[in-house]
């Protein structure tokens, strides 16, 4: 099946600054693709190029087989977009906004159904300027769905929202996927990407530094899993002697690397056999967040060292 989005060697320059510096990726239809990166990494620029709002300096971009910049009109009938910090006519209500879009797109969508879907039906007749941040974002989402889009572009849809509003938006994103739509989601909440995305690309300084499914990225770039036991340095020495594993003691906790899941059982058996006091244990795995912070940190450090060497 042809990719929903195909990006090949995309570059966007502003003067001498390359905001996007030669990136490649593709998004399969019906999947949730999450584009991650710190602020200023090039996420929004890339997204806007895909939406046809900005012109690429170099490279090939195809969305549903169309060139977003030159074939914007046919493309916009097939995609839905919520920009970052969605704004609309202040005195207009969500119901009227959807009626407006419905007239522009010539569709028959029922405003009430759409507002139900994004959990905004109770605010159908409130003016935009009286809506909260989360409600405004939900309206943006509803408008993006007015034309029954094949791809939804959501640019940081949950930034600044409270946990409840954020979960409501997540529920909508899950239902979009269930309906077979492709979702292109930019976010800087790693948890969001890990929960929702099939595929993730991490962009930093205009370059993609990691890509794949969240599990693949963690497996490739994450640290091994660890078991942490609350216990004494004596316990650490005992485990090191009996298991031959490196045990690190920090703040009254003993931490040991787990190479596979059977290691956990061996460690627990050894602790029991030692007769030394211990209270509780936890096992920890790297999250996408840990990987992201480490990758971005390493890259920045590397950049600083390179600059320092000059």
């Amino acid at each position: 099946m042809a990719a929903a989005i195909e990006v090949d060697g995309l570059i966007k320059r502003y003067g001498s600054l390359a905001a996007v510096d030669g990136i490649n990726f593709s998004v399969s239809p019906g999947t949730v693709f999450s584009f991650l990166g710190p602020n200023g990494a090039g996420k929004t620029t890339t997204t806007e190029i895909l939406e046809g709002l900005r012109k690429a300096t170099e490279g090939e971009v195809r969305v549903l087989g169309l060139d977003p910049w030159t074939e914007g009109a046919p493309l916009h009938r097939r995609i839905g977009v919520i920009p970052q910090d969605f704004r609309f006519f202040e005195k207009i209500t969500p119901k009227e906004a959807i009626e407006y879009y419905r007239a522009l797109f010539h569709t028959n969508v029922d405003p009430h159904d759409l507002l139900e879907k994004v959990e905004l039906a109770d605010k159908a007749t409130s003016r935009f300027d009286t809506l909260s941040g989360g409600q405004k974002q939900k309206l943006g989402l509803a408008l993006a769905l007015t034309n029954d889009p094949e791809i939804c572009f959501l640019d940081e849809p949950t930034t600044g929202l409270d946990p409840h509003a954020r979960r409501a938006i997540w529920a909508v994103i899950r239902s979009l996927k269930k309906e077979g739509r492709t979702v292109f989601l930019t976010t800087h909440y790693l948890e969001e990407a890990e929960l929702l995305a099939d595929e993730v690309a991490i962009i930093h300084h205009g370059k993609i530094i990691a890509s794949g499914s969240p599990t693949e990225i963690i497996a490739e770039h994450g640290l091994p899993s660890r078991m942490t036991v609350v216990g004494s340095p004596a316990l650490a020495s005992y485990l090191q002697m009996n298991l031959g594993a490196a045990a690190v003691v920090e703040d009254g906790k003993v931490s040991i690397t787990l190479n596979d899941k059977h290691d956990a059982l061996k460690i627990l058996t050894a602790i029991e056999a030692s007769g030394l006091p211990w209270t509780s244990f936890t096992t920890t795995h790297d999250t996408l967040d840990d990987v992201f912070v480490r990758l971005v940190g390493q890259m920045d450090e590397g950049a600083l060292k390179t600059e320092g060497a000059k």
Binding site: E51, G52, L53, R54, K55, G72, A73, H76, R77, I79, V81, P83, D85, F86, R87, F88, F89, E90, K91, I92, E96, E99, Y100, Y101, A103, L104, F105, H106, R127
Partner: protein, 376 residues
Amino acid sequence: MKLSHIGADFRIVSRTYFRNPVALFFSLIFPIILISLFGAIFSATGSGAVSLVVVNQDHNPNGVGYTNESVAFLQALNATTLVKVSVVDVTPQNFSNYLGQNGDTTGLIIPAGFENDYLAQKPVNLTVFTNPEDAAAGGTVIGAVQGVSAAFNLHRVCGTGTCAPVIGFTTANVGSQVYKYIDYLIPGLIGFAILTSPMFSMVDIASSYRKDGIFRQLSLTPITRSEWLTSRILWYVALTFVTSAIMIGAGVLLFGAHVTLTLGLVPFLVVGPFFFVSLGMLAGSVARTPESAALIGNIITFPMMFLSGTFFQVSMMPAGLQAFARVLPLYYVIDGMNQVMLFSNTSRAFTDLLIVLIGSVVVFLLAVRLFKWRDE
């Protein structure tokens, strides 16, 4: 252009407008305040010196300038402070028509040979035009001309004997309607509304919608820039009709204004907003920030607001300013409305309309071309 897109956007604009108390105040209440204020100030004070339009046919023999005596006569008239002389270049045959079309109620013709005859003490006859409907102005002008003629006659006494007065005058009627300040004020203030309402709001919209990303949002829908701008134009046309009706009603009811309500007014109420909505959009589009947009908007709007015949007739302004007024688009809108509402001069109204229409098409196309709703 799709009518359904324009209609959908028109509904958005009208709702936005009706839900904005400030906008409603400025389009519905403010016109009445303006009419009342200016009508009261200027109707009550009277106009001081009577405006006297003069055709001076007494040129110097070489054809350059006017003879000393004729100029001295007009200066003497001005010096009475009863009248304020303005000289126009019109043939005597067309003079009465000219006065009628410009709403002037008094006029004076100084014939060729005035100086020669006067110095040779041969009788010379001036013609004074007055309008029976404006007897006060007519009386003032006749009194002033009589007084100055008497002084000139006395100046050239014939030796010791008495001789017949040299300068005399006959009177003729101006067949025109007598216009009051309020009559000019109504087309002037309709013009004022046609200018200010769209200019201020479109300049603001052009920059604030760009800043808030609303244009980007619209660029992702099937509506085109020309459809969007057309919907705004139609809205301001509708608003102009309402505002004009309010102003005409207030002028007639409060001050007994005299206006001819003719279909000829309609094209001006359509083309005027067409021009200024487009111009506002153009001004807002070339500016980079809302602040500079407001500045550009004000630079364009303020001179037009005062110098296009809004509050004061252009013919009352100094010659330099009159020439300047003629490059202002609003001048042609207001002049055209004066022609159809007061003077029933359709040919001049048509010329005015044509000028504004051509200007509108040019500015509309420029605005659609220059206002971008996405970045490169």
